[in-house]
Amino acid sequence: MTGIVGAFVEAWAELRIHKTRVLLSLIGVAVAVAALTSVVGLGAITQQATTENYERQSGRPATLIVSAYDPVTGAAPPAAAFSAAFTEVTDRYSVSWTTRSTYTQVFVDFVDGLTPVDTTVVDVDYGTMHRVQLSQGSWFADGDEERLAPALVVNETVWKRLGSPDLRTHPTVTVQGAGNVTAVIVGVTPDLPYNQDYPTMYMLYDSYMAIATPQQVQSIYPQYEAWVPVGISDDLTALIQRDIAGALGDDLQVSVSRQDYLVYQGEDPLLPIKLLVGGVSILVLLLGALGLVNISLVTVRQRIREIGIRRSFGATAGRVFFAVMMESVVAAAAAGVVGVFIAVVVVKNPAVINFIAAGITDVPAFPIEAALLGLGAATFVGALAGLLPALVAVRVKVIDAIRY
């Protein structure tokens, strides 16, 4: 115990005394660690942004898409029958998260006239299943489909065109269906970076069906989605397909498939960039290590007398080896801490996040694995750089070192 504490005390005293030399030798290590850690940290953010984007488009894993059609005519089954079959089957397998979704256009009465707005018609669960983020207000709640004034979740473009009303005042807007209907805006979604100034909104399926014209009702073919655990998604795919096919009859072809990003995701799309920057970082780290070895070797040669003195006072060869090694490890680890700190500052900088992952809603916490990787790499480099000087140190001939 005292041996280990003593070695740390010695190493720390050496670093304190030679702080300028140590600082200079460690700049390379700190920069490399900062780069390496930043790559991992920024990679996590980019990954999260990509994932969110995928989840908004095709649902969270595992999202099963259920559809049916007549293989001869290509016609869809009656909506009511399909809806009943889907509800019954998903209830049977205790699937808690389901939604219908379809796309249509609804005319909204803005001050400059009626304008068609792309509308995603969904059920309440869609918000969670597709990770819909709101900049203000709230997503639909159970029972909203029964409102006489249908609820709307609009994007910021629509909200601004309506004069950016305060949602606490329950702002309304007239939409056109079978007649003019007053709708209430309950939430606002941020504009997507690739879809700026383009009006879109969400409306509940049952609300839309209540205001739609008979022709619109006839022409709507919703997509049915179920969010199920990834582990049992394959089994559920087969069971749901079999049961709905049974419920709708043999004439119809029922298809159940996963379309979330995990199904298609083979190789990490960011892998080439990660490898490139990671490779450069490792190269910088090795150069830093070389500098550290170089300076450590020179320093050890200058310190031969001191090592001899320590040996004369009972420092064993192992202790001298450990102490010289520890100096390098402690110094490199300290550089690692600095490097990780720089990386945190870079990765958590809002300007950097906006640059690499515009539109991200859930900015992930700084990944612990990135910090550990940085510290681990620094410590490893320190041990590597300390090895050679430590071997030189234990070969010092004590009396010769002291006397000459």
């Binding site: 003593g6 005293a13 006072f313 006397r403």
Partner: protein, 245 residues
């Protein structure tokens, strides 16, 4: 020779170095020496007489080619390198000609250095022990001074405090006054003798200076690898300018 229990015994110790393409170099030839607790021994010798090699062996830093060294009754040859290192740290205190204080560290930190290799109470109380030892050599008021701010005599007193913090039973002083003027050298030797005597440690002084050697109670001369007792009067005579060692 002393009647007390032997601390260090050298019997027929020879140290030979094999040289490539040349005859082996016999540095020490059949050295016999017995040092007991409380002894004060001086060894004089010219440069190249084998003093460094003998210091290596006395300080448990090397093994003889032939012969036997026993420390506290134990054969050095039977001890592992680590055991020798630990025994050296515990029982041997070194004092050097150039003081060899560690740069960038205060007098107190220098005096504490050997205690970094101690264990238990000595390790955890190292600062207090070092302060007490600095006080004993009259330097408690300079504890926070850097070596370069101390005079030669003060530096050597810090070195003495450093050599004694672990309570060694053998003190090896290698040219302890070589870098000091005559007056300071005499006062440092008086202090060293007093501290060694009061702590009951054996003191071996290796020196060129016959006056310093004469302060010891047993006197030896090392000449071409052969160690032989020498009379104190002969040592003093050697101190005269016309006599060479």
């Amino acid at each position: 020779m002393s009647e007390a229990r032997p601390l260090l015994e050298l019997e027929g110790v020879t140290r030979t170095v094999e040289l490539p393409d040349d005859e082996p170099l016999h540095i020490l030839r059949g050295v016999n020496l017995t040092v007991s607790v409380g002894d004060h021994v001086s060894i004089v010798g010219r440069s190249g007489s084998g003093k460094s090699t003998l210091l290596n062996l006395l300080g448990l830093l090397d093994n003889p080619t032939k012969g036997e060294i026993r420390f506290d009754g134990k054969r050095i040859a039977d001890m592992s390198a680590n055991q020798r290192d630990r025994a050296r740290g515990r029982d041997v205190g070194f004092i050097f000609q150039q003081f060899n204080l560690l740069g960038g560290r205060t007098a107190l930190e220098n005096a504490m250095t050997p205690l970094l290799y101690a264990s238990g109470r000595q390790f955890w109380r190292r600062e207090q022990i070092a302060l007490e030892m600095l006080d004993r050599v009259g330097l408690s008021h300079r504890a926070q001074s850097m070596p370069e701010k101390l005079s030669g005599g003060e530096q050597q007193r810090v070195a003495i405090a450093r050599a004694l913090v672990r309570g060694p039973r053998l003190i090896l002083a290698d040219e302890p006054t070589g870098a000091l003027d005559v007056e300071t050298g005499a006062s440092v030797m008086a202090l060293l003798d007093e501290v060694a005597h009061s702590s009951g440690a054996a003191l071996i002084t290796i020196t060129h200076d016959a006056n310093i050697a004469a302060l010891a109670r047993q006197h030896y001369r090392l000449d071409r690898g052969v160690l032989a007792p020498v009379d104190v009067n002969r040592v003093l005579a050697l101190a005269q300018p016309e006599v060479t060692l």
